[in-house]
């Protein structure tokens, strides 16, 4: 078995515990089924392209992107735990290189991102099935969002985990950054109609681009703007992934 596959196997074993599964499934379900329906009293419907979506359908599609982002946290947590518990050095005195280690993290978050997106799509489907427009782009767009989104947010989490030494610092920074990503985005509410500074801020957030791509896949409104958003996501992902890789490669032992 290739060393990277062996490390991915190990990463999945240590990551997929009960706590993580609850975090991955229960939280989005609460957002979708409690928040989604409770907020219909305030937000009856949301205009999206040439469609009008019910708020539960809107938030359920947003939760797919949100969950991809959350699953990417795994990358940071793996690196953080490996450094904290001595496994980073232990792996590097074993039959592995740093490249194996980095690639295994990428594949791990890619796999978790895909599983996560599939899970939420399945759970949210009853809410948005009326508005779904499947076409030849639907699946590729969802896979694109899962993989690129996982690597992008995984790189951010990795960068944070390589820069911080205390566990308190790591938790505070990672939660603050991901809280900003979650709520200053179009995952929960549309940019249109929000105060102008806020709607501008939404587009300084990669989660907005990711959620837009997911919605384009589900509701079939792929256009030039979404294509540009995909390009921005790819560029940003490549840049952040390079930085994360360099930092990991330079991490002192």
């Amino acid at each position: 078995m290739h060393p990277v596959i062996r490390l991915v196997n190990r990463n999945l074993t240590i990551s997929l515990n009960k706590g993580f599964m609850i975090w991955q499934v229960i939280f989005p379900l609460i957002y979708i089924f409690v928040g989604g329906f409770a907020y219909t009293a305030l937000i009856d419907s949301v205009s999206y392209g040439n469609k009008t979506l019910g708020y539960p359908a809107y938030i359920a599609s947003g939760m797919i992107g949100f969950n991809i982002m959350n699953s990417a946290l795994v990358s940071g947590i793996i690196i953080w735990n490996d450094r904290r518990h001595g496994m980073f050095e232990q792996i590097l005195v074993g039959p592995f290189t740093r490249t194996h280690y980095i690639l295994s993290n990428v594949y791990t978050i890619g796999i978790i991102g895909l599983i996560s997106a599939t899970l939420i799509t399945a759970v949210g489907y009853p809410l948005f099935f009326e508005s779904v427009e499947f076409n030849f782009l639907t699946m590729p767009l969802l896979v694109f969002a899962s993989v690129v989104g996982s690597i992008l947010f995984g790189s951010i989490a990795s960068i944070i985990s390589t820069r911080l030494k205390s566990s308190e610092g790591f938790n505070v920074v990672i939660n603050t950054v991901f809280l900003f990503f979650a709520f200053v985005s179009t995952a929960f509410y549309p940019a249109e109609g929000s105060p102008v500074p806020l709607s501008i801020a939404f587009y300084f957030n990669p989660l907005t681009y990711l959620v837009d791509v997911v919605r384009a896949g589900i509701f079939g409104n792929f256009d030039t703007f979404v294509a540009i958003e995909m390009l921005v996501l790819v560029t940003l992902t490549l840049t952040l992934f390079s930085i994360a890789t360099k930092l990991l490669a330079k991490l002192e032992l």
Binding site: R10, G86, E89, P95, F96
Partner: protein, 313 residues
């Protein structure tokens, strides 16, 4: 054949030479002890030999492989227990052994057999379902060492493996390593506990301030550096006048703890003893007890390190 061969191996951090121009040669099937005070360069040497960090200068061959050019090839053939703890907090003891075997590409059936074997050998069977996070420091250390025997290797590096272990677990581990060495495994072993090195090692090197200051078998080191012997004489009564009686005799100390104790420490202990015995007999002083203390590796270590410190100062 040499398992480890280094020539002028050095590692510097700025102006600090953590490892300074060391030449090492460790033969196959030996347990090689690497001793030194804190900060002497032991862990840095292990990090160099296990290819975790690159040297600043010098060459090293591990198992006949150029470790600077082909570090991965070396790492595939060695086992390493680092000084710092390493564990997967969310995995149980059994699962961490099993996964570690998987990481080393050990075939599934063999992995299962080895897990059972090691759980017994390291007295971990009762802890098999306990998560690493819930173990004591000593138990975790046992898992860390046991884990390394999940895979095959030709050379094992152990950086203070007995830290945190109780005396019985420590002895168990040392005997386990001895048995493995009998089967042909070469072991590079660092420790602060010199009685451990004396118990287990065929050969020891002493490192101080990044330099190797002595290399030999524990017995040969004793012969070379351990000429000074300690002899103790105990008298039942307190004889404060002894210092006057023993005037002119060197290399002895007096204390009056539960009687009178005369401790001789000298390269010519027997000669000093004879002189003291003559004086005691002449003054009708009765000896309650007389004992000679064999030179330990610890005394040699302290003596060699102190001499090295004195000469470098």
């Amino acid at each position: 054949m040499s398992c480890i061969e280094t020539k002028s191996l050095s590692k510097s951090y700025g102006v600090i030479n953590a490892v300074d121009d060391i030449d090492l040669s460790v033969n196959n099937g030996k347990i090689f002890g690497f001793l030194g005070p804190n900060g002497a360069g032991k862990t840095t040497t292990i990090k160099l030999l296990t290819t975790l960090i690159p040297p600043t200068a010098g060459t090293m061959k591990i198992l006949g492989i150029d470790a600077i050019r082909s570090p991965l090839e070396v790492r595939k053939k060695i086992g390493v227990v680092l000084q710092q703890p390493s564990y997967e907090p969310t995995l149980s003891v059994e699962k961490s052994l099993e996964k570690y075997g998987m990481m080393w590409n050990v075939e599934r059936k063999l992995r299962q057999d080895r897990v059972e074997e090691l759980l017994l050998s390291f007295d971990l069977a009762e802890l098999r379902n306990i998560k690493n996070d819930e173990l004591s420091i000593g138990q975790r250390r046992r898992v860390q060492v046991a884990r390394e025997f999940m895979h095959d290797m030709n050379l094992l590096f152990l950086d203070e493996p007995t830290v945190g272990l109780d005396p019985s677990a420590r002895r168990g581990l040392l005997d386990f390593i001895k048995d493995k060495a009998k089967d042909g495994l070469t072991v590079f072993f660092t420790t602060h506990l010199l009685n451990e090195a004396e118990y287990i090692c065929n050969e020891v090197a002493i490192i101080n301030k990044g330099k190797i200051i002595a290399v030999d078998s524990p017995e040969e080191l004793k012969n070379k550096f351990g000429r000074e012997k300690t002899i103790k004489i105990h008298l039942d009564t307190i004889r404060k006048d002894l210092s006057d009686l023993l005037i002119g005799i060197k290399d002895y100390e007096l204390d009056f703890n539960s009687g009178t104790n005369i401790t001789i420490r000298s390269n010519d202990s027997e000669e000093v003893l004879l002189k003291i015995l003559q004086i005691l007999t002449a003054n009708n002083i009765v000896i309650e007890d007389l004992s000679a203390i064999p030179t330990s590796l610890e005394e040699i270590f302290l003596s060699v390190v102190n001499k090295s410190n004195a000469s470098s100062n």
